[in-house]
């Protein structure tokens, strides 16, 4: 019974890329009964704690993994625009595919892996490589035809304009 549980817990851990990345056997929780005991001895960083909580109470992780996705994104709004920043280093501007369709902004592309010279050893390989795609749903008042995109220092910045009418107007009191 106990052995079976061990096996399941390990399998769960392996399916979650973030945790596998830690590679630290000390942060693997196998038996619920032991958790309280271990916690007191080894204080851990916040992320490990959060992951533990998620495993304990949340149950199954998302099918797309625990990480929010690649590339990391920041989104903001101004009265005149929606600003989207995608942190995707190591690309060229031509390698991005940016589309606005039906009120949805899609950013996709492919990050090519660095090919090591023959006979070289890869000690650490944390970089994302391969195809990626992220989607942001936009507010109703956007003007899809006046979308601009620029790539600087490894950050793709997409600016989607909003319609004039939606911008708040100050009404003077007579």
């Amino acid at each position: 019974m106990v052995k079976f549980f061990h096996f399941q817990a390990l399998e769960n851990l392996c399916s979650c890329p973030q945790i596998a990345g830690y590679g630290n056997p000390a942060s693997i929780y196998l038996l619920k009964g032991d958790i309280m005991h271990y916690r007191g001895i080894f204080p851990r960083d916040l992320f490990t704690e959060l992951e533990r909580l998620q495993r304990e109470f949340g149950g199954s992780p998302s099918i797309r993994g625990a990480a929010p996705g690649y590339p990391a994104m920041n989104v903001g709004t101004t009265p005149k625009s929606v600003e989207v920043y995608a942190f995707a280093p190591g690309m060229t501007p031509e390698e991005f595919d940016v589309q606005v369709e039906n009120g949805v902004l899609t950013i996709s592309g492919e990050r090519k892996n660095i090919v090591p010279p023959e006979g070289a050893t890869i000690h650490i390989g944390e970089h994302f490589s391969g195809r990626f795609r992220r989607v942001v749903s936009l507010p109703d008042d956007i003007e899809p035809n006046s979308t601009t995109a620029s790539y600087r220092d490894g950050v793709l910045h997409v600016c989607v304009a909003r319609r004039e009418a939606a911008q708040s107007r100050r009404i003077s009191v007579q």
Binding site: Y85, P89, G90, Y151
Partner: protein, 124 residues
């Protein structure tokens, strides 16, 4: 007491940094490190070697409009920092660097004495 609390807050703010993702590749003559530092302009990147430690630091500079209201942020810190320990055969004085589209490429050669040497077997 208040002063102490403030000082501590400042310290934690200073130490809060993102860990850049890296690839490290070793060949016969040295090590090449690639670090993802998106959002860091060249001027805000700092690489230094202190004793055995290689310290990578960078500050983000995102020129967002001043009246922008953030509604979703996955990158919410303004700096990167990561420290590596160099092993003895690496020559910390001869590190060379290139930086393009947010990817830093660092070359750390092995010291002269650690370079591979082919010994020719003499026929007698």
């Amino acid at each position: 007491m208040n002063e102490k609390v403030i000082k501590r807050e400042n310290a934690s703010e200073e130490s809060a940094a993102m860990r850049p993702a890296v690839n490290v590749v070793e060949d016969a003559t040295g090590i090449t490190l690639y670090a993802d530092l998106p959002g860091v302009p060249k001027e805000k990147l700092s690489i230094h070697v202190e004793g055995d430690n290689l310290i990578l630091e960078g500050e983000l500079e995102i020129n967002s409009p001043p009246n922008m209201e953030a509604i979703h942020a996955e990158v919410d810190l303004s700096r990167y920092r990561r420290v590596f320990t160099l092993s003895r055969e690496l020559d910390g004085d001869k590190v060379s660097a290139g930086f393009r589209h947010g990817v830093l490429e660092l070359r750390i050669p092995k010291a002269e004495h650690a370079q591979p040497r082919r010994i020719v077997v003499q026929a007698t």
